[in-house]
Assembly symmetry: C2
Homo-oligomer: 400 residues x 2
């Protein structure tokens, strides 16, 4: 079994470095991973040097160090990150470097027995600087999943071949089964971008989500754009920010979000599992956050700063995507968000707002936390400024 996994790691590493960020000669690479994914991180780093990286900065999260910090540090100390932590992110922004994040940074539920409010205070291996750097649009970056035995056990509990099964599904949803995975991804992105173009042209004033436990209206700016995960830097460097990705994303108006959303999938937040999440919005603000389990971790994050309780992203996912087809709950936002339509609390993607006047109103925060609102049971309707209601997604199929 190990040689097969190694070969998949190598193929995944080549896809991420060669297609995902499309690393160029002389670029610096910030490589964020879990110690549990050291082998994959190493394969990615070696591949980066092969392609001419100048320096690979390896930043590792570790379940046991995280646990020890959350258990023992004072609240003030938990909030603390040294200046170099931000600098490692800012450097990549200044130098027009690349960033690869192999997720999860911690095993799902690794901190479930600890105080979720305290767990939510420790930002490592992230940084408040991350979204600032993303919005400079100077970095080609890519977030990818990396299977680990602990993660596999959480997804397929008690199954002997859990790790192998997770790798099989991962290889399939990453389209590694294709003879030419980059070509397969270009084809899928072309199809999604064609829908994105039509969505953008409609200039909807809002999108309305309806389904079991959910009745949420998310306002859009007049110049909000829709886009796939394939995008470009200010230098015109084309990259795919998430791998896999099946979503179309836009930036909402953070003051015009109203209603209730029930998350259709568990949310894994830095080692805390949040289940049965229900969030109520009024005037754009998340005024109530409840869950069957782990709500405190999201509440702590949402209280982080002014924008942390408002939306920075709205995203739509169709049923053609491979992730939804697996039927698996991966307990991993990167994957689960691409099985279903979703929203994110926190920092907005400014490149999804065309006009400067609107861009200044997009949400700002140190956090960016996605949670799922969709499944094929959820219908998505576009609402025009004139109040006309236009079907967008029904049974997971595009209506325009």
């Amino acid at each position: 079994m190990l040689p097969r996994v190694d070969e998949r790691q190598q193929r995944l590493a080549e896809l991420i470095v060669g297609y995902g960020v499309d690393l160029r000669q002389g670029q610096d690479l910030l490589l964020v991973s879990s110690t549990a994914n050291l082998e994959l991180a190493r394969a990615v780093g070696v591949e980066a040097y092969r392609r001419g990286a100048r320096f690979v900065d390896l930043m590792l999260g570790d379940d046991q160090l995280k646990r020890a910090r959350v258990q023992h540090a004072s609240e003030d100390d938990l909030r603390y990150l040294p200046p170099a932590q931000a600098e490692r992110y800012l450097h990549i922004g200044r130098e027009h470097g690349a960033r690869i994040s192999i997720q999860p940074h911690f095993a799902p539920g690794a901190l479930s027995d600890l105080d979720p409010a305290r767990a939510g205070l420790d930002g490592y291996p992230g940084s408040d600087a991350l979204h600032e750097v993303i919005n400079l649009r100077t970095t080609n970056w890519c977030v990818i999943p990396g299977p680990t035995p602990a993660w596999a056990e959480a997804v397929f509990p008690g199954e002997d071949d859990a790790y192998e099964k997770l790798w099989e599904q991962m290889a399939w949803v990453c389209r590694l089964d294709s003879a030419d995975p980059p070509a397969a991804w270009r084809e899928r992105m072309d199809a999604l971008d064609a829908v994105a173009k039509r969505l953008t042209e409609r200039r909807f004033d809002a999108v309305h989500f309806e389904g079991p436990g959910t009745d949420l209206t998310v306002g859009l700016f007049p110049s909000s754009l829709w886009r796939s995960a394939r995008t470009t830097t200010v230098d015109g460097h084309v990259y795919q920010a998430n791998l896999p990705s099946e979503e179309l994303t836009s930036t909402p108006d953070p003051l015009r979000v109203d209603g209730v959303v029930r998350s259709t999938k568990p949310l894994e937040l830095s080692g805390t599992l949040i289940e049965g999440l229900v969030v109520r919005f009024e005037g754009g603000r998340a005024v109530q956050i409840d869950a069957d389990r782990g709500a405190e971790a999201l509440r702590a994050n949402a209280a982080r700063d002014e924008g942390a309780s408002r939306l920075g992203e709205v995203a739509l996912v169709d049923r053609e995507g491979r992730i939804g087809q697996t039927g698996t709950v991966f307990l991993n936002t990167l994957l689960d968000e691409n099985a279903a339509s979703h929203v994110a609390l926190g920092s907005a993607y400014l490149d999804l707002v065309e006009e400067e006047s609107d861009r200044g109103r997009a949400n700002e925060s140190a956090i960016h936390i996605d949670f799922m609102i969709g499944s094929d049971e959820i219908s998505v309707t576009g609402v025009t400024t004139g109040g006309e209601r236009v079907p967008v997604l029904r049974d997971g199929t595009w209506q325009l």
Copy 2:
């Protein structure tokens, strides 16, 4: 076997954190290790959080990433380290934090098949800032060895129980066999510091090393001090900078070193093994560096800056030390230097010079590379300003 190793790792971690750096509540810890020593690094980090560390900054070297960089990067790129690399060291200096370095950062000989001159250009996971920070005397730091299977195989090639054997010797030389290892270390340091006091009081003008292949005179400043590895920060925080350590160290006059020194042990330099090293000094400068193997790696380092070809340290080791008693060549400077008297090219320890006027003449460099000149066959003689010759070490026994 594994549970025994785990228990030793835990005991070693407690010794390093609790006695080596004697970590205090609220301190930040820079923890530098190899990925091959991740388990020990984790035990150290967890122990640090238990003792109230504010943040543990884990910095990892990795054989395969290093190899890939040395193989593929241009010479200019190889010399490059991002600003955050220095910042992570400088931060600890500014904040009066702690630093623990688990060595080796790369398996002995991991780069032996690559160009040693190129290998010598890549400073990661070190930094030019390191010796600047050490000389601020604001940090409590400790360098320790961490056994790995690859290192054990290099030390005991072909032996089935190499890893276990290396751990056994490591546990013994670290005095983990003692019921109270910190107490055992305090006793040994007290004994060494008593000799150091007598050596300092003699105010030798130079020390003269004589033995097979070696005839070297190393000049001292009028106010050069001798000291064990136990020392204090500017805050009066007592720590032991190396564990294990059996040496008495002083800072030489970088302009008054003359003669030839033949290294009695192989020198492991960032993955390159240097064997049969012979260095000739004239007027303080290393004017000729030869070796049976790997000389280029040391030459590249010695050409790094003005002070890199001059001495920053001279150290004496007696035969009472446990490392020499093992008879093992550990292929690791931290251990091998404590089996034998040695000198170091590069940065000097300013706290080993009492007078400001002398301190300004101590050597400055971005490097600090120890290599062995002693064994029990080497005699060490103190030379007074009047030319009197006073025996210091004969057959590894102190003569004063």
